[in-house]
Symmetry: C2
Subunit: 363 residues, 2 copies
Amino acid sequence: MFWGAAKVTVDKTSTGKGGVATAVGRGGAVHIADVAAHAGVSIATVSRALTNPDRVNPATRARVLEVVRALGYMPNVSARSLRAARTRTVLVMLPSFLTPFFTVLLKGVDDALSELGYGLLMGSVHEHDQAVRLVDMTAAGQADGVLLLDGRIPRGSARSLAELHVPIVGVSVPLPGDAPVVLVRERQAAAAAAAHLLALGHRRFGYITGPAGNHVDAERWAGYAATLAEAGIAPAAIHRFPGDFRVETGRAAGRRYLALPDRPSAIFAASDMMAIGFLKEVRGAGLAVPGDVSLVGYDGIEFADYCEPVLTTIRQPREAMGRAAATLLVRLIEGQPIAPEERRPELAAELRIGGSSGPAPAS
Amino acid sequence: MFWGAAKVTVDKTSTGKGGVATAVGRGGAVHIADVAAHAGVSIATVSRALTNPDRVNPATRARVLEVVRALGYMPNVSARSLRAARTRTVLVMLPSFLTPFFTVLLKGVDDALSELGYGLLMGSVHEHDQAVRLVDMTAAGQADGVLLLDGRIPRGSARSLAELHVPIVGVSVPLPGDAPVVLVRERQAAAAAAAHLLALGHRRFGYITGPAGNHVDAERWAGYAATLAEAGIAPAAIHRFPGDFRVETGRAAGRRYLALPDRPSAIFAASDMMAIGFLKEVRGAGLAVPGDVSLVGYDGIEFADYCEPVLTTIRQPREAMGRAAATLLVRLIEGQPIAPEERRPELAAELRIGGSSGPAPAS
DNA sequence: CTGAAAGCGCTTACAG
DNA sequence: CTGAAAGCGCTTACAG
């Protein structure tokens, strides 16, 4: 699924027993020279038949491919990469802990990459030295490009990355220069959440934030606050609960909420995980959702559907985001032209109304 | 995080601007010859200073490493792998869709591998040709060994894998021969679930199964049924709902359950995801959990804690499982001796009582 | 402890 | 359309 050349050499055909088992059995030690000898051609021709089929006489090509199949030959990846100076592999930078959000994004990336004949190397972003390592790995010839899925990458590092001419594409993270970035219309989506809550009659609002400096958090807040402002609610009147997208900070927000003298009746959380944490705490304290407080999350993870009540949320097109980013990166790597207007695709996220949001309490 | 040699050459040191930026800036084109020239030694010495530090004079080594740092040299991975005939990379086979269960397992794998200086290549197992591809990839020199995390691999393929001498370690999946496998005491855990339900007074039981032929499903069923049998409940009297670990099949089980004339009062699901799906359906139909039906899941995913009510479940030591498997595989790859009694470690899984299980209804 | 040299398995101009 | 040959960037016996 992630090794492009596999399409050429294996698949259903080499599943059989016969010569294959023998060949692979002795340690996968079938080399291009073996194929050449069996097919009665030079190794150059074998190589071409595999990587540039149309530069080889059809009959010769057929013979070579038949021998490849019979012997179960698989080109050595290191040798190929070394010589060709490209790995057909992409380094995907993720947070060290794979959340349900990234899991699905990654599936989109994996599927697209696989179709394009590229492999996937995963890199977890731990505390620091992130960007440095990215550059190092690509510079060391381990990958042809980088997919930045983790918005937590510090801006400075992203800048140096771009300057270092490593093909890079971001998802929901602004990159300097003209590096392609797949975006989501965060403001629009957050505005829809605000409009939904306003329509239910709410007038006292809260917001559970993402981590400081995070791009999507800023956008979500901007869309939410702007729409509320249009309805006469000043941003300063919106109670902000600090969070970092994780469930624990949602719980902390819930506890802070419970301690408030004058509680908002509507809460918008910048992630579903935080909404779920908040829900747990306030329901645990005996509050009714949405009877006492309405709640809207963000992301649209599967689990939102299994909350009690079902979480109203903004569904991000995670798989499409991953696919779009992977496709752009491969085009970038392969030097295909990317028009300016294609560099910042903005995908739509949609409000999905569940049971966690309802009419404002009479109060 | 997944590239061993990074420890030698980079980390905090090369973060600076100076020469590094310049060197990396021109495309990472710093080669071992550049380092050798700057340090006034041969490339052989540079190579040794990096891979076999103690075979180099300390003063020479220090000088070389200083130049490496200053130039930001990173050995080319393909060249190194090609020459050394090893990649220091492990291929991890996973289901194509990363569930919360595998996500955490993978984190354990990643952490351990990283500490051991190994990289991680992810392979999703799609429908077929799975094992073939595994062998192909390792045979093609892309990885030094395989970690089998997906119990769905057909036995036959696993057998051929083992016969092909590819270093392989499984998690919760029996492998032929003496290939190491990290196991969990499934029977014991399932027995604990049964004992818990019996203690609550239940006498009518159900079981939501895993996919047909799955090893852990068989073990869980065996432990559950055996314990119930000791209490006088014949296995044939346990209602089996077919499932495959995924949430959808849990929902289907819920619908079947609701249609039953004589409903069991206690259900044990072979996965949390199925328990969550079941919960959703039966609560949606107005049943009370545990008032009408008690529910016990399996896995201990985080989300079990956010269900309403909190799911009683069997918590598997996912991270430890991943770490153990990764460690065994590296030992196998590096030819270190592994005593027979170390080849099948059995980790404990523990019952975690939540709110989804309660006293049997009076009826 | 260090260096010169072979060679890992391929791909790719360069001829023909 | 095909082949001979160079060479990708390293590591590793082999000498010294």
